[in-house]
């Protein structure tokens, strides 16, 4: 039994804003204060542990709603970039495996570093169905955190086929089967229609332009998926990487997307990359954070995460094949592409975001503007789209930028002098409160993912608890190195140090129901156009160490 005393609890879902209260944990759950007899018994048995959190903030474990940590893309990034790892090595300990870090860390090190900064749940944001087994294999070697993955559906042959036929039942059944067969947690849409078009050699930028084997527009694909996601009652709304992402002037596409989705629940991911205007004179990327933030403020069912740029090395990776080709053309850097039959594409390109580069500076400012202009913290979550805009290990310093306007000004001062002509970040003096930070890093993502037992410290919930020492001088350090991290009631970080014990997290799944007939419906095309047998497609249960099934709504 664990008793945490004297701490200030930041638990926004339960309206606790720095309230001093004692927390009790038994086994893996948060419990009511036990009876004095029970406390005595635990004491006598030597089973009562007490943490004195005097002067410290207590929050639920952090939740990353969008990150790339396991599966074919991140692993390609690892193998592609020996230069990324050499300066950041992690030695083995008695019970902890070794590895390397930097922007594309090995699986074990990914687990250490997330847990080490108080994150206990992470969502791998994009797995190709055909290679889902690979995602789960890596999950087995990714300790300390609970994790799930979103399965790519925006350029899937059967999805497009059923939408073009107007067969909503078949679409629903297919998607439900796909989620169960791949062990996914939700649906991801990346550049709907655009990735398939690029496989056919077309650069599709218009949401209304039809293409592909079923002559559909991105709008038709996206709306079909958003509707099916709702009808299935999946815990997490449709998770969207917009069309035209990364291109100057793309904010119009983003507005079109938001309008299209206004009657659905939807999550727009790394929206920073989708909020670009274009300078008419020189074609330069400009900030349209105001228009995008206004729209998000106005809509009820929409959440976003930012994808905040971090200056320094990054490894971009996405299922948006044409985007990655563009980044390769732009940077001249090495480029890996993989087209995945019937389902998706993907690419990996290393990048370096430079503080003195005008465009990179504007991108950086747009991310922060969005954080500060979106009024309701329940609608906006902290991500760097790891490792696309930068590594997740930079989160503590993004928190500092949000909480400390002076620090932000200092940083703006170090950018290319013209950045302020293109953005109004310098004029924003909003500072996030600790409670708001708790919202954008745990309570909000938990709600958006439909994880009721996470992101808050109610009685009966998972005992995923982080204790931050506010007495440290540097806010970044406070969040980079919590004093204690408790995962499922077990101490993972003690006095700032990771314990020497490999503790597994769970794989988060959802299991929507479907009509088995869907297998007969897809069988013929599957046999003709896939390169493996349908019977060898599904990921068997032996790929999961421990699972938690999150119920549909």
């Amino acid at each position: 039994m664990l008793k945490i005393i004297n701490g200030m609890i930041y638990d926004p879902l339960n309206n606790k804003n720095g309230k001093e209260e004692t927390l009790w944990v038994k086994e893996d759950k948060i419990i009511e204060p036990p009876s004095s007899a029970e406390i005595e018994r635990a004491k006598e048995a030597g089973e009562l542990e007490v943490i004195d959190a005097q002067g410290m903030a207590i929050m639920p474990g952090g939740i990353d709603i969008h990150t790339h940590i396991a599966g074919p893309k991140i692993n390609t990034g690892r193998v592609l970039r020996p230069e990324d790892h050499r300066g950041d090595t992690v030695s083995k300990r008695e019970n902890l495996r070794s590895g390397v870090g930097s922007t594309v860390p090995t699986t074990f090190v990914t687990g250490y570093r997330y847990a080490g900064m108080g994150y206990t749940t992470v969502m791998e944001a994009a797995g190709p169905p055909l290679k889902a087994r690979h995602v789960h294999e890596e999950f087995e070697d990714l300790p300390f955190v609970d994790k799930g993955f979103l399965v790519l559906a925006g350029n899937n042959y059967f999805v497009m086929k059923f939408i073009s036929e107007g067969d909503k039942e078949a679409l629903k059944n297919y998607l439900a089967w796909l989620i169960v067969a791949t062990g996914a947690f939700g649906l991801k849409v990346v550049n709907p229609g655009g990735v398939e078009a690029w496989k056919e050699g077309k650069d599709l930028r218009d949401m209304n332009e039809s293409s592909g084997p079923f002559n559909l527009s991105p709008k038709e694909v996206l709306e079909g998926l958003a509707e099916a996601n709702e009808d299935l009652g999946l815990p997490h709304p449709i998770h969207v990487h917009t069309n035209n992402l990364g291109h100057a002037g793309n904010y119009r596409t983003t507005l079109e997307t938001l309008d299209l989705l206004k009657d659905y629940r939807a999550h727009i991911t790394h929206v920073q990359f989708s909020s670009y205007g274009e300078d008419e004179e020189n074609g330069l990327l400009t900030s349209e954070s105001g228009v995008i933030a206004d729209k998000i403020n106005e809509l009820d069912g929409i959440t976003v995460d930012i994808g905040q740029i971090i200056f320094g090395d990054a490894t971009t990776m996405t299922a948006d094949g044409p985007l990655q080709y563009g980044l390769h053309q732009l940077s001249g850097n090495k480029w890996v592409n993989t087209d995945v039959e019937m389902e998706t594409g993907s690419g990996v390109v290393p990048l370096n975001y430079k503080q003195k580069n005008l465009v990179n500076g504007i991108q950086w400012a747009i991310g922060l503007e969005l954080f500060l202009k979106i009024e309701d913290p329940w609608k906006v979550f902290l991500t760097t789209d790891h490792p696309n805009a930068g590594p997740f290990t930079a989160y503590p310093w993004v928190i500092k930028l949000l909480m400390d306007a002076d620090y932000r000004q200092e940083m703006i001062f170090q950018l290319h002098p013209k950045v302020s002509q293109y953005t109004d970040l310098a004029g924003i003096d909003r500072e996030y409160t600790l409670e708001e930070i708790a919202v954008i890093t745990r309570a909000g993502p938990a709600s958006a993912l439909g994880l009721k037992e996470k992101g808050n410290l109610a009685i009966g919930n998972d005992a995923d608890i982080v204790i931050y020492n506010l007495a440290k001088d540097d806010l970044g350090e406070v969040f980079a190195k919590p004093e204690w991290v408790i995962k499922d009631g077990k101490t993972v970080v003690q006095e700032g140090e990771l314990v020497d014990e490999l503790i597994d997290g769970r794989t988060l799944l959802t299991k929507p129901e479907y009509d088995e007939n869907i297998l007969d419906i897809i069988e013929e095309d599957f046999k003709a156009y896939y390169s493996i047998s349908l019977e060898n497609y599904s990921v068997a249960d032996d790929y999961f160490k421990e699972i938690e099934v999150i119920p549909c709504r």
């Binding site: 396991a70 074919p72 692993n75 690892r78 193998v79 592609l80 970039r81 020996p82 990324d84 790892h85 090595t89 992690v90 030695s91 083995k92 495996r97 070794s98 590895g99 390397v100 594309v104 860390p105 090995t106 699986t107 074990f108 055909l130 290679k131 087994r133 690979h134 294999e137 890596e138 070697d141 042959y157 690029w198 496989k199 056919e200 050699g201 084997p213 080709y325 390769h328 090495k334 480029w335 890996v336 592409n337 993989t338 087209d339 995945v340 039959e341 019937m342 990996v348 390109v349 003709a528 156009y529 896939y530 390169s531 493996i532 047998s533 019977e535 060898n536 990921v539 068997a540 790929y543």
Partner: protein, 427 residues
């Protein structure tokens, strides 16, 4: 007599991983295999022959004695090598990496003497690839460069490349070109064959790149061909590549292991990359062993590097040429070796094999081979895909699960390696 028929069996005996074999089993013996090629038929039908038994210095011993001997060898070494991995499952590979970390070994796969140079060039320039289904569904122009699938990957042509009808294209509309130093059976089946002069792959590829960029060729007078290909053919070829809808270049060891090695593959990757300015074009390595692709994956996520990884400092370091098996053995640097599911005595250079004979060598293999002949300790293990389960990766990195069709008296590679690791740790 019990008889059963198992469908959708994955064959792990080449990088194509055909997954539609039908295997008939009677009394724990395979009596029939359908949808099999020559290679898989032989491997499946004779799977239970020439099996290894636990041995120490040639003497048959109990399994436990053999494991203990392996532990004894490894606990006293200063610098061991773990090598092979290409015919075991990912699960076996992961256990091997853990053992390597635990004992401070260098760990290397057969990749370093096979498609490793391709991976090195990927680290230099990237790679534009696709899964095999994309080739089947889209590819109207298919190049085979320094590879001979008709003999080495017998069902590749039928399932994935030359012969199947795809979603967007019928086989009649597919054009195939073979580049090789001799007229192979694949060359005879192709629409065109270019007989490449040995060691001129790099030159041909770079000339094609130059033509693609619109460069004028500065050809010495009297030279009428490049690397064995007529000049006007080369011009036509560059045009053809550019005008494909979705081209594919399959490459084999004729490119990665001939003079130039990773520079050859860099040139091929760069050519394919450059072609994407005009059309879609992809490239896929013709990986040989059933799970050699998997070894680069498992090493990738556990260490960050694909092969040639060293743990002597307690964390992974990577240096092909320093930590790769041929070099470590040739330079006589290591003092013990664990060979997992491969046959280096048959494939490594003479000097390396001679040194392997001198040091204590622990061999995990289901079958007798040249390496078991020189082993100090032989540990039999399950046959991945026939008697042992696990995950294997196809040449295009599509992961498949294999399930045993026969029972085995011996444990899996994963189980044995884990046991050795625990033994060394507790010694």
């Amino acid at each position: 007599m019990s008889q059963s028929e198992v469908s959708n069996v994955v064959c792990t005996f080449c990088g194509s991983l055909c997954d539609n074999l039908v295997v008939t089993v009677e009394d724990n013996e395979i009596t029939k295999v359908k949808n099999a090629c020559r290679i898989s038929k032989t491997e499946f039908m004779h799977a239970t022959e020439d099996r290894t038994v636990p041995r120490i210095k040639g003497e048959e011993v109990s399994y436990e004695e053999a494991v203990n001997e392996a532990v004894d060898i490894l606990k006293d070494t200063h610098y061991p090598l773990i090598y092979g991995l290409s015919s075991t499952s990912n699960e076996g590979q992961r256990a091997a990496i853990k053992l390597a970390e635990s004992i401070g070994a260098s760990i290397d796969s057969t990749s370093s003497v096979c498609h490793g140079p391709g991976t090195l060039s990927k680290q230099l320039v990237g790679a534009v690839g696709a899964t095999l289904g994309e080739v089947k569904n889209r590819s109207d122009l298919i190049l085979f460069w320094g590879c001979n699938p008709i003999e080495a990957h017998p069902r590749h042509a039928k399932r994935y490349s030359m012969l199947p009808d795809g979603l967007f294209i019928d086989s009649d509309d597919k054009e195939t070109i073979v580049f090789d130093v001799r007229e192979t059976p694949t060359a005879r089946l192709a629409d065109h064959f270019y007989q490449v002069q040995p060691n001129s792959d790099f030159e041909i590829l770079m000339v094609l790149r130059a033509l693609l960029e619109g460069e004028e060729l500065d050809i010495p007078a009297g030279k009428e061909s490049i690397g064995g290909i007529e000049l006007d053919e080369i011009y036509r070829l560059a045009d053809k590549l550019k005008n494909a809808e979705y081209g594919t270049l399959f490459f084999g060891m004729g490119l990665t292991m001939t003079r130039g090695k990773h520079m050859n593959t860099s040139a091929a990757i760069s050519l394919v990359r450059d072609l994407n300015q005009y059309t879609r074009f992809v490239l896929i390595p013709m990986r040989g062993h059933g799970n050699v692709a998997g070894s680069e994956k498992t090493l990738g996520w556990q260490t960050g590097y694909p092969f040639g990884v060293n743990f002597s400092r307690g964390y992974p370091r990577y240096n092909p040429g320093e930590f790769t098996a041929v070099d470590l053995l040739g330079r006589r640097e290591v003092d013990a070796a664990v060979i997992v599911a491969s046959d280096p005595a048959a494939s490594l250079p003479y000097q390396a094999v001679e040194y392997l004979k001198e040091i204590p060598t622990v061999v995990l293999d289901p079958h007798q081979n040249l390496t078991t002949e020189i082993a100090q300790v032989i540990l039999p293990a399950g046959i991945t895909g026939i008697t042992a389960p696990g995950t294997v990766y196809r040449m295009d990195n599509v992961p498949l699960e294999v399930r045993p069709v026969l029972e085995d008296e011996w444990p899996t590679d994963e189980e044995v390696l884990t046991k050795i690791e625990e033994g060394v740790k507790n010694a």
